[in-house]
Symmetry: C2
Subunit: 124 residues, 2 copies
């Protein structure tokens, strides 16, 4: 057997293409049941917790472009632009670990401040 030297990158890109196309159910097929996601607000354990985090974000996404994507057999890093209903220019970065073709770990970084400001503005 030969190992695909960019298997994690391919999985990360397939996941990315799906959710940025608003096909969140397709995106979830690349997510392991026992995913651990380290998000700005804290740690999410399992696919359902991850769904509760990313699902609402996909719903407010209006546009996204990939800035950079690198990876190897086990790990990939993606950076992307994202425009959303409450916040335009909300870029994100993900470091993804893939096990058996599914995302088992994700570290995701984005700036929550403009989302917090939009929320505050909407409730005052």
């Amino acid at each position: 057997m030969t190992e695909n030297i960019s298997a994690a990158l391919e999985t990360a890109l397939a996941y990315h293409r799906a959710w940025t196309s608003h096909d969140f159910e397709q995106a979830m097929t690349y997510v392991a049941e026992d995913i651990v996601c380290q998000a700005p607000a804290g740690r999410l354990d399992g696919a359902e917790a991850f769904r509760g985090f990313m699902g609402p974000f996909v719903q407010i996404l209006t546009n996204s472009n990939l800035i950079a994507a690198f990876g190897d057999a086990k790990t990939a890093v993606l950076m992307y632009d994202a425009d959303t209903v409450p916040v335009t220019d909300a870029p994100g970065a993900e470091c993804i670990t893939v096990r058996d073709g599914k995302i088992s770990h994700m570290r995701i970084i984005f700036d929550r401040l403009p989302f917090d400001a939009a929320r505050r503005a909407a409730t005052t």
Copy 2:
């Protein structure tokens, strides 16, 4: 002439090693005079503007570990943990473009919300 296929990654890592070792002047030797940096608060033009952004951050940095680093001849992406005096667990991600051995463009993503919260707490 042969092109170094990971030249940008090497520059990005040298810059990273310098500032995370608190040697900010050494880090600045890898930064182009006409750097454009897209930071969460907006665009910074030129090395002096960049110095005014990153210098204070380096001063409050207490610890940092590289999470992932990938790149090629022109572009590199780094993700890292960072602990700071006001905020522990303040990870960042950078997409760096290198021209003639210096960083000419940087897209940097981090979560400003905990820094904003710490600032608010300190002033009330």
